[in-house]
Amino acid sequence: MKRFLVLAAILGLTVFGCAERKAVMPTPQPQEMQQPQIKAPDESKKAQEKITEQQIAKVESKDVPSQFQEISGTFKDIYFDYDQYDIRDDAKQTLKAVADHLRKNTAQKVLVEGHCDERGTSEYNLGLGDRRARAAKDFLVSLGVPSSRIDTISYGKEKPLCSEHTEECWAKNRRGHFVILKGK
């Protein structure tokens, strides 16, 4: 019993001691542990830092030259409705003319650019422009043009023809544009 009491006393003291210290101590923030230069104010040693910065050298983007000569303006642009990519009836005549041209000039290819108006955000409009260009391509394929002779590219809203914020202007920008590609 006596032994038990002594044991209990030691135990009690230690536990009490621990608990008391624990209560007094604030939990240190992990950030402080990583910042040894921040010292207590009464210490005579001062923190020091030399500020440097990485020198950023200019990077040259390498240009891959195109293997084609591009001819623009042979065909009229075709137009699309807002947020739509269906080929409108008024576009079919131009598409037929493109198909005729490719049939006659077997060494040439066509590039269809898909464009959007400025409403909406860049990436979604690039997706929409991609669909418009592909809708035009699919129509040309349905007219008998081999798909290997039709390239598509989307410019989304990044290359507008008209820069005013009007419906008239937006309608002009929602377009498919045709570029003839001739081997150099």
Partner: protein, 446 residues
Amino acid sequence: MKKERSQKPEVRSQKKKFKNILFMVRPVFCALYSVFCILYSVFCIPSSVSAKVYIDITSPAVKKLPIAVSEFVGTSGRELSDIIMDDLDFTGIFLCLDRNAFLEAPAQPFNPKNWTVLGAEAVVKGTVIGAKNLAATVSLYDALEGREIFRKEYQTEASLLRPLAHTIANDIYRQMTGESGIFRTRVAYVSRKGGEDNLYLADWDGHRPINLGIKGNVILSPHWSKDGSRLLYSAERNRQWGIYLLDFKKMSETRVFSSKGTNMAGDFFPDADEFVFSSSMNGNQDLYTYRISASKLNRLTSSRSIEVSPALSPDSAHIVFVSDRGGTPQIFIMGRDGNDVRRLTFNGPYNTSPSWSPGGDRIVFSGRHGGKNQIFTISPDGSGIAQLTDRGNNEDPSFSPDGRYIVFSSDRDGEKAVYIMRANGEAQKRITPKGLRVFGPRWAPN
């Protein structure tokens, strides 16, 4: 003790035996614990003194801390201390007191009585010497307790005056809040001029813009690696949409992915080797991941709709993206393997450009409201939607590395420019100059 007990022929229950062992072992543990406690208190108490948090920025209703940033003594002292004040002021957690009311001249020694009458709780004083090379000494005082809580010396060259000021502001911010400041971070954005796009890098406040030399017929909003050493972006060059990587350690650009169709880079995974992107290489605009070192392509979605703008959650377990599968572009969330797709946005006809906050608790996006694109934030569970902008078209939002601010592009003042604001929409400020048409900003992690 054990021996003594075993000699006794007493029969004890298993429970009692266990209790006894516990009693014997406990003092040992406790003794060890108390030694640990003592060591802990000896080594940790000094740092905990300076670790007093003056503003708990995690609290929802932060009371602004009145701080007096005295003009620094020395030729470039005013410029230096003005930048520090601008930094602290933008955070919205400090109330920077008007210098005209100060009673104590910059060169006078700190006297708490000169400041407590003004209501200042913290005071910053400093001197800066040198012309080609600068040496600054900065002190931060607790005006109420009348003591210096921080003092540090800084050296740098004159051309790095702004980084010097931002470093000092970071130190003051850490002393006051216990958190890291973002004042030395930078923002990358795209500039458009004469039919050509260029990548730029500027300080977070828009100063010191650098043209990185990266060109493209069109360049899209870049994405940073977690360590800030790599930048991933899409560019259209010679009729092809490629995904490019700029390595800041080597200062070189490599094309990491290209194919027919539209390829648009999304976020990097944490290892900065794999990234998520959208591509129409298989006909329809779908989402993929690509591991650069292994040239490994993995398809995440196969739908007939447009899927673009994938962004990763901070734990990279989820991907937030845009899809028009419901008829209009809306924001969806799925697992990183492409499973468990759910729609996040139901308000408005057009919600795009999502980006996750570093804490994972908010998603910022651009949504159509009243015919214009505005910046909104929403919880990943779809609750708590908040509109943050209401002038002009506002796009390309992304969070600062501490999640406290948002950078975005806006045409509210005519041409497209880069703006920053607090994550609650306060303090909207243009950071790019007039005459420069810029968009697609991304806040660097460091």
